[in-house]
Each structure stands twice: as structure tokens, then as C-alpha cells.
């Protein structure tokens, strides 16, 4: 028996769920149980955004509102939070009573931003989150970021982008945040969720020691963080996941701090928060952070999850490895650290022991002479999986490479350092000749796969190309090296 039901704020009141299986998705709950069909299923894998909803959470006594994909979010993860869907928008400030639409909705109508309309509720919710989080109209780049997880096949996006300034031209409305925080307050003092249904357990510890104990007690249970990958095991592979331990309710895991020892990112920090911190620590992360999955996936997913998942195509790992990141692992009360590259043993096999979990990532302070870059190469700018993701951290003193750390994803069974190339470069004069040869060494260091994202030859070629780019960026003078920075004249 469950200690208590799942409880969350929905449609102005606390909703209790006692009988849904722990892997029931928020989208299934909405469409099939609540008969709220405004939220659509387009792909059931978090890649199209038709199911976008907004989740509200008390973070530091403020209501944090973030767009996520309902299709891969398990219902128990809503415990203690607030759920907003497209049906809620017209009700804000009583707009629904007067028959008016929310400003983002009215703007979408005014700019002719819907055609078939199937993706529109998802866009409305992404825009709603953007609107609530920005008192002033955000710039176009921020709009594109907010919409990076929403696909539209009809409009070509121009009117949707134009809807944002149009929404800000209307009288501003806003959620009654204090009322929602007040409604959430009683949920915060409930005992941790230990939910059982359909012979499956969903345990959500509320502290690091509780998590460590639960993990040790049930080493075979699946550890769930953002669920942006595990969600697909359910919706696509129809797998039975067994018992789940949810890491998302442990405050220590979400902590991020910077001090003299560097940057510490708790394994449960969302990718959104983690990349904000990483980009502040090292601005060269900014472009990759923006292109990593999409806003809703970064809001739900965690950096710890990306790293622990160990996918050969994870985009955070090459850069983290190049920067000398240590992974912090905890088992019971034992805490140990490993260089991140040593965490990966083979394809989808890590150094994680039974009962152990990823607690944090520790990025050490970077030497002043080190130049760092990380790039992903994919077919599409937004929300794509890399064909190749590469990272370079080179120290050059008096024209000589004193240290080289190069790591790649997408070119081997795990994220991997290019040790032969690193060795080749170290001690060499940093110049065109060295780079030309090193690019060849790099291109031949890996034996990547041919697949639907790219051929092995392309991947090798691009690995070398990125080293050239790294070199040219420092030496090309006024010639441009970055497509994203090309100026466009109207």
C-alpha cells in the first residue's frame, strides 16, 4: 500500500492520484484520465513539443515555471508541483470568464500563427512559460531558444516568432503566484512519496542520505532523474521498468556552487541550470548549451543523467572531459571521485557499482593559458543528436603546446579522449604544420560507425576539421570562422 497518493496542483486544486502505474505519463493522465485533450501527442518521445505543458515548483520561495514534454514525464514526478496545460491559459486572471484569450494565445491568432493547429497548444505553452518568465519582451534568440523543442510543419515558424512581441503589446496578465505557492506549501511537509501501484514502487527520497540508503537497499531498482531517456523505454519500447527511485526530490543533488576548487554541479541539477552555471564558468559552453536537445528537454533532463547514461552521443561529456571534470560517486556513505573519462568502460557500461549513484560533477579551475572550445555537428541546429561532438582544451605557452586535452563523442562506443593526438600535439610548436598533421592523426584515431546520422568517413573528416577550426579561430585574423556569427543585412 502506498503511504500516500501522488499530490499536485492542477486546475486550481490539489489533485490526488492513488491508482495510476508509476510509469503513467503526464500526457496519458491528461488525455485519457482527465479527458483534457488540448495537449496533443505528436511523437511520444519528447522531440516534437505538441505535448508541452508547464510545471510550477517552489524554488527558493519563488514559483519556478518551466515547459516540459508531458509525453515522457512520469506522473509521480509531479508530486508536490503544479501542472499547467493549455486549458488553463484563458483562466488566468479570469480571462476565460470574459471570453478573452491569454495574450500569447491572442497574439498567435493575430499573427496567423496556426494552420492545422495540432502543434499550437504546445507552442502556446512554451510561449506561456517564456512570457511568465520575462516581464519584458525577450529578443529573437531567446524566443528561438524557448521554441527549440516545438515542431511546426505548416507555418514555417515566422508568424509564431512574431507572436511574441505581439503578446507583449497587450495588457499584461500573470499567474497568481502567491496563491499557487500557498497551495503547494502543504505538499512540502508531506512525507516523502513512497508510491506503489500495479506492483511497481516509486520512491522519492527527500535527502541525500535517504537516497543513498534507498539505493543501497534496492540496487536493482531503476534510478530515475529527468526521465528524458527512460521515458522512451516506456513509450517506445513498452518496457516494464520495475521499481523506481526518483532522484528529483533530493535538494542536495540539485545544488550548484562555485568556489576556489572550481564548479560543483549536483547530479540532479537540470540541464538548464547546469548549462547556465557551466556557461558562466566557461563562456565557450554557450553555443553547445543552446544546441543541447531543446528547452523542454533541458528543463526536465539532468546533467548527472546525461553523464550517467553514458551514451556515446551525449553532448556534455566531451567538453566536461576536456576540462578535466571529476565525477563524484556515492555508495552508502562512501564518496569517491574519478576522472570522467575513466567512468566509461565500454558501450553503455560504466564504473558505477551496484548501489552506487552519481552525486555530482566537479569541474576544476581552468589554467589561464588554456583555451577551450566544444562543438556539436548535426543535421539541424535545434534539438538534434550529434554526428560528432568534439571538445578541445589546449594550453599554449610561448608558442608551444604544453597540454592538450581533446575528447569526442559520436566516434566511438563511449565518449573518448583522443590520446594519440594529445600526445602528438604536446610539446609541438602551435602552428599550421602541426595542426595539419594533428588533424590527420585525429581523423584516424577513432573508428566511428556508419549510421543514419553520418558516415564513418564524414565523422573522421569532421573531427580533423574541428581541430582546424580551433586553430583558425585563434589565427584567421578578420576572416569569419563562425556561421552563427555572420552578419545578416536586411
Amino acid at each position: 500500500m502506498s503511504e500516500r497518493p501522488i499530490q499536485f496542483y492542477f486546475r486550481g486544486e490539489i489533485r490526488q492520484i492513488a491508482d495510476a502505474p508509476p510509469t503513467r505519463t503526464v500526457l496519458q493522465f491528461l488525455r485519457e484520465d482527465a479527458h483534457a485533450t488540448g495537449t496533443k501527442e505528436g511523437c511520444a518521445e519528447g522531440d516534437c513539443g505538441a505535448c508541452t505543458v508547464v510545471i510550477g515548483e517552489n524554488v527558493g520561495s519563488e514559483l519556478q515555471l518551466r515547459a516540459v514534454n508531458a509525453c515522457i514525464q512520469f506522473l509521480p514526478t509531479l508530486d508536490g508541483k503544479a501542472l499547467f496545460t493549455v486549458e488553463d491559459l484563458a483562466g488566468i486572471n479570469g480571462l476565460g470568464i470574459t471570453g478573452l484569450l491569454h495574450p500569447v494565445q491572442q497574439a498567435l491568432v493575430d499573427t496567423h500563427a496556426s494552420q492545422c493547429g495540432f502543434c499550437t497548444p504546445g507552442f502556446a505553452m512554451s510561449l506561456f512559460a517564456l512570457y511568465e518568465n520575462n516581464p519584458e519582451c525577450p529578443d529573437r534568440a531567446a524566443v528561438c531558444d524557448a521554441l527549440s523543442g516545438n515542431l511546426c510543419r505548416c507555418t514555417g515558424y515566422r508568424p509564431i516568432v512574431d507572436a511574441v512581441p505581439a503578446a507583449y503589446e497587450q495588457p499584461r496578465v500573470g499567474l497568481d503566484r502567491p496563491a499557487i505557492l500557498a497551495a503547494l506549501a502543504p505538499l512540502a511537509v508531506l512525507p516523502p512519496l513512497d508510491y506503489r501501484a500495479a506492483s511497481q514502487r516509486f520512491l522519492a527520497p527527500r535527502s541525500l542520505p535517504e537516497l543513498a540508503e534507498a539505493r543501497l537497499a534496492a540496487p536493482d531498482a531503476r534510478l530515475l532523474a529527468g526521465g528524458t531517456d527512460i521515458g522512451l523505454w516506456v513509450t517506445k519500447q513498452l518496457r516494464e521498468l520495475g521499481d523506481l527511485i526518483y532522484a528529483g526530490a533530493v535538494p542536495e543533488l540539485r545544488a550548484i556552487r562555485t568556489d576556489a576548487d572550481g564548479l560543483f554541479i549536483g547530479a540532479g541539477a537540470s540541464l538548464t541550470d547546469a548549462f547556465d552555471a557551466l556557461s558562466a564558468f566557461e563562456p565557450a559552453w554557450t553555443e553547445l548549451a543552446r544546441r543541447f536537445a531543446s528547452t523542454p528537454v533541458r528543463n526536465a533532463g539532468t546533467l548527472g543523467g546525461n553523464v550517467a547514461n553514458g551514451s556515446p552521443i551525449g553532448d556534455s561529456m566531451p567538453g566536461l572531459i576536456a576540462m578535466g571534470t571529476q565525477i563524484v560517486l556515492q555508495r552508502g556513505e562512501r564518496v569517491r571521485q574519478l576522472p570522467l573519462e575513466d567512468f566509461y568502460l565500454a558501450y553503455q557500461k560504466t564504473a558505477l557499482e551496484a548501489g552506487e549513484f552519481v552525486q555530482a560533477l566537479h569541474i576544476p579551475p581552468q589554467p589561464a593559458e588554456r583555451r577551450f572550445r566544444t562543438w556539436k555537428i548535426s543535421k539541424r541546429v535545434d534539438q538534434d543528436i550529434s554526428a560528432v561532438c568534439g571538445a578541445f582544451a589546449l594550453s599554449v605557452v610561448d608558442g608551444v603546446v604544453t597540454e592538450a586535452r581533446i575528447a569526442f563523442g559520436g566516434v566511438a562506443a563511449t565518449p573518448q579522449r583522443a590520446r594519440t593526438t594529445e600526445k602528438f600535439l604536446t610539446g609541438k610548436l602551435w602552428g599550421q604544420t602541426t595542426v595539419d598533421t594533428a588533424a590527420d592523426v585525429l581523423a584516424n584515431e577513432y573508428t566511428p560507425l556508419d549510421d543514419m546520422r553520418a558516415s564513418a568517413t564524414y565523422r573522421r573528416q569532421v573531427a580533423g576539421g574541428l581541430l582546424h577550426r580551433f586553430w583558425l579561430e585563434g589565427t584567421a585574423g578578420t576572416a569569419p570562422t563562425c556561421l552563427a556569427e555572420l552578419e545578416v543585412l536586411p
Partner: protein, 775 residues
Amino acid sequence: MNAPNHNPPPAVGAGLPHESAHLHVSGRATYVDDIPVPAGTLHAALGLSNIAHGRIKTLDLSAVRAAPGVRAVITADDIPGINDCGPVKHDDPILCDGEILFHGQPLFAVAADSYELARKAARLARIEVMPLPALLTAEAAAEAESWVLPPVEVSRGDAVAALEAAPHRLRGEVQLGGQEHFYLEGQIACAIPLEDDTMRVLTSTQHPTEMQHMVAHALGWRMHQVTAECRRMGGGFGGKESQSAQIACIAAVLARLSGRAVKLRLDRDDDMRITGKRHDFHIEYDVGFDDAGRIAGLKLLLASRCGFSADLSGPVNDRAIFHADNAYYLDAVSILSLRGRTHTVSNTAFRGFGGPQGMFAIETVIDDIARHLGRDPLAVRQANFYGDSAGSERNVTHYGMKVEDNVIQPLVAQLATDARYAERRAAIDAFNAASPLLKKGLALTPVKFGISFTATFYNQAGALVHVYNDGTVLVSHGGTEMGQGLYTKVRQIVAQEFGLPIDDVRLSSTDTSRVPNTSATAASSGTDLNGKAAQAACQAIRRRIAGFVAEQLGVSDDTVVFAAGMVSAPGFDAPFASVVADAYRARVQLWDAGFYKTPKIHYDPVTMQGRPFYYFSYGAALAEVAIDTLTGENRVLRVDILHDVGRSINPAIDIGQIEGGFIQGMGWLTTEELVYQPDGPQAGRLATHAPSTYKIPAVSDLPPVFNVRLFDNANVEDSIHRSKAVGEPPLMLAFSVFFALRDAVAAALGPGARPQLDAPATPEAILRALHGGRL
């Protein structure tokens, strides 16, 4: 009821919002999966093949039948009527009949208490298959002479002689990829059994009559036993013209056998594996031309991958032939069209319907000519344009149709001036000279697109207009709404006829029990056909009301005017609603049906000569791009479009179609890559079966500068309010992006280079082209 507005703007020509926009944005627009179902409704799922070609030895479904919640399981043997859903040739099994024809082919279907239980059960089958050799590509099919339909050759003049006599001659080949529709709403149907052997099918389809027809055949019934209904689709793009039939048929068969309503909604991955896509083409050319780049003779091979069945591949490939001229006069020309039968999904209609593939071929030829001669590609394009409609000899197409409405020269000239082509060409040359790593490219490409179904009998439509006795109007017609704004435009047309505010007119769902024998909403023709039919019905009703008013006043009928919510005549001015109420009491018929058939069109399908099109739509686009020569990554920097929609019924909707079509075309030619496993035990498996691996344009692909304008040009033909069709033609404006990318690659390769750039121009394809065609 809203009070009549006495000063509404004229409905036709106004940029009104989509009639469902307020529902779209609030989640209140209902799609098939949102409609409340009857109690006891079952949910269906399909069992798919995991081999491209083979014979089923064992299909053991005992575990499927025994799975929790399962209520019905069917194979081909359980279909009471005909196991076929092919729209033209009857070679499209609803469920596999023993020989597996492609990887992902539905073998059986299961209906269970929930969607989840049905999907889980469908994976429990034990299947043994004897593998057979599989043909997977257009080239492989051509080599094996494996056709879904026989090859077709169309020629004019002596192409071989012209080639030999020409001062210059080039040969080339290029691959052009297919395209997944990726409608956001996947395929879905809900079949509801009703009394006395009848069935109501709620279906997301562009072709309700075809669904009615196919469901009746599958059930062994006649058409009056089945009604098919569609209020709206969450996108169609051609993918729900014939492909929705299999879904509707399976739902209906399960519903009939179980006696319960059955909903079949495809999971996205299943949808992408099962349903047909845009045909990919292998193109070869041999062209002769003069010093100006003007084509003297052309031999063209258009070999397509049609997949396992004919589906609509015949008319798709015919349209490729018809559009192999794009906007260019081809004097001596010979086109060979091969319709390859392969063990892959059956390719189908997709916005443009073969036209884009034919046009891509000639654009490649023209671009190569320009690069070979070292001339500006725009100049070569202009040198080859059809002549003025009046007087010129260069104005008859290779299929014998005179081009009577040509505006391509002034349209292109206006765009080149407005968007400063020459100045920007010079600026890009200067940029490229100073930029070794990044290269820019520029291209201005034209579009001429023929409007009408090439199957002439399809060019008909019906509508049913009810004026209720409170003065409100309900319209039914045979066209379907997939987001293109058809309902909105018809609403405007009807409001205009009665002089009513737009809110007084509503559109009902498209339902075969209200308007029968409808044509597919396709070929960009929805408004042309259904708008005219609705107008005809309105005019019949209006004539009766006018006659009633005139008789009372003793004036002539033609003095009665319908405007601004009022009916007026000399000495008479009354609200439409009150006139209608009086007319009703005087027993005047206030509803009527309207019918329309497109005039002038005819052609001989054997010789492929005649006038298959009522008129042409024109447009042009100028794109500026940049590429990274180290990685092949690219970016579209700016796009300028000038497009001919005739006299626009709704400029906001038309601009939406142009922008959306352009971006969709850009996706086809850049990021959207369909990859089939080339070999091994999973040969023929679609590897890009989800949005994680198949990349349609996302928001950052929107060009930062995107100027779209309408070209002022009333239709010379008597189309509805002199407008022009707009659904498909803008897709081909995206050639400008592809050829700008080619221009950038050419800039990197140096003078005279003809880049071997295949489509889609992914970063890898671009890098390959930068390395001379192979990595």
C-alpha cells in the same frame, strides 16, 4: 446569434484569421483522437514485418490473442470484403497476404481495451519468414526492370540531333531524396458500427469519399452503408490522400468483427515506417546548349522509387514529366520516366506531387550549364524562360499546352530589382574572396506550376449551403481542412455572396453523407473547386431570395443587393435575417447544392498531350546562404520571395501557405534525410523513423531575414474571384536554398566547377561535394 454588423469589410480579400484559430490556440479544436468515443470503444495496434521481402511461414498469434485486454485479432483472412486499399491499381493489401513486401508492412491487427494493451499485445506474435531478395533503390529497380507501372517516354522534336548539333554539351546525374510528411497528427481513424449494417468512420483524411469507398470494399458492403467524416486534420501534405485508407479499413474491419467502436491511432514510429513518402529520384541528363546557355536539346531520365505498390505513383511520375520544364522552354526534348517497384514503403502524394522532382532536374541542368559557361545562373535561367504569351513561338510546353498566362519574366525581374540581386552577387564575391573558411552562395530560382488534377475527372466539386430561417448559414463541401485555410476561404466566399458578416457563416465537417463523390483535397485545388461549388449554391439561393423580394416590391430581380448584412432594393432596406424569415414563411427554398467542374482542360493520357492544367501559378525566390567548408554545416541567411496567388481571397492565409511551403521545401532539400538500412538482415529498415533521427526544420532554421510578397496579378482564367491555387507551388521556391548552397560550394571549388551536390544537402552531402563528390 451575433447582432448584424452594418459595416463589415468585404469578406473576400480580407486577411481574416483561420476560422479555427481561436480553437487551435486554446486546445479546443478537436481532432479525431479528441472526440469522445462511445462506451466500450476498443483501441487497435498493428503487428509489423521486420524484413523487407519474404514469405510468411508461420504467423502464430496465440500469445497476442491471450494477452490481457485483447478483444479481437485479425489477419488478411479475416477481411470480409476485398483485401486492398490501392487508389488506382489494386495492388495494396490492407494486411499482408502471405508475401511480405516491405520492412514495416502490417501483418495483423489487434484491438484491445486500451491503446497500451493493444500495442503490447501486438509485439507478442511469433513470426517465421522465408527471406527473399529485396530491391531497395530506384537504380536497383531500373536495373532489374522492376516496375509498378510501365516506363513512359515523352518527347518533342529530335533531341538526339539537337544534342549533336549544339555548340556545348554536358552530361550529369544527381540523387534527389524523398521526404516524410511528418504531419503533426499521425494517421488515425475511429470506426463506429451503427444499426442495420452501417458504419460511421471518423478519419483524418484528405479524401473522405475514398475512405468511404475503401471501407465499403473491405467490409464487402456498398457505399451507402458507410459514412466518412473529417472536421480537420493535424496536417496532411498529401500523406492523408490515399494513405489514410489502410488505417480506416483496419479500424472498420475490427469494428465490424468486434461489434464495438474501434480507434486505430498509429504511434509516430509506426506511422513513419508504414506510410508512403515523397518519391526519391535518380536523375540523369544529357543537354546541348548555345553560348548564352540556351538549351537546344535535352535528354532526361527520371527514375523514381515507388515502393511495393503503384499507389499514386502513376500520376506523381506523370506530373514530374509535366514539370520537367519548370519555367523554361524546351525545344527538342526527350524524357524517360521509370517507375521502380522496390521492397520499400509505397511512396505517395506529397505537396507538389512529382512536380518538384521534375523541376529539380531542370534546375540542376540549368545550374550546370551556367557553371560550365562561367555565366551567372540567373542570366542562364532568364535566357531559357518561356516567351511572352502573346506572339512568341517559345510558349508551348513539351506536352502541347500553350502557356497563356506567363508572368515569369516580369516577376523575376521585379524580385531581382527589389532584392538587389546584382549588388548582393558582387558583395558575396567580395566576401568569398576574403573568407577561406566560410563561403556564401546566392540563387534566384523561378517556379511555374500547373493547376488542376491531371486526372481530369477529379476536377469537380460539390457543396451544400443551408440558410437557416434566422439568417445564419451552414456550409458543407467536399474539401477537407488540413490547416491550409480552405474552410476560412470558403467561409469568406459564402459571406461575400450573401453580404454577411463572417460570423454568420459556419462550416460543418466534411461528411460523405452531406456531399457525395468528392475529390481528394489535393493538387492545390481545394479553394478553386469547392469555392466555386459553394458560390454556385449561394447564387442559387440568392436568386430565389432576390426574386422573392423583387416580386413583393415590383422591381426587377437584378436590383436586389446583398451587402453589409442587409438586403436592399430601390425603396427597400432590411436585415438579411428578417428577409430570410419572411422568405421562409413564403415557402422559398433557402438551401441548395452547388456543383463545379473546371472548364477547358483535357489531355490524352496515352500520348500525354493536351491541356492538363487550367492555368499556371508563378513565383520566384532569392536565397543567400553560407557554408562552413570544414564541416559542411550551413545557414540560410536571407530569403526574398515574390509569389503569384492571383487576386488573393485571404492574403494572410496565402502568405502562410507560401512561407510554410517554402520552409517545408527547404527541409526536403537540406535536413530531411530518409535513410534505409542498405544491407544485412535488417536491409530496407527505415533507420530514420522518428523525429529524433528525421529532422524537419525547427525554429532556428527560419531565415533571419525572410521577405515574402504577393505579386499583383489577377488570374486570366475565371477562377474563384480570380485567385490562384497556393498549396503546392511555394514548396518549389526552396530550390533557391539548394542552389544557393550549390553556389557556395562552387565558390569554394573555384571557376568552372559543377558541384556534385545531392539532395538533401546535409552537412555531409555538402562536405562530400566540397571534396569532389566523395569523402
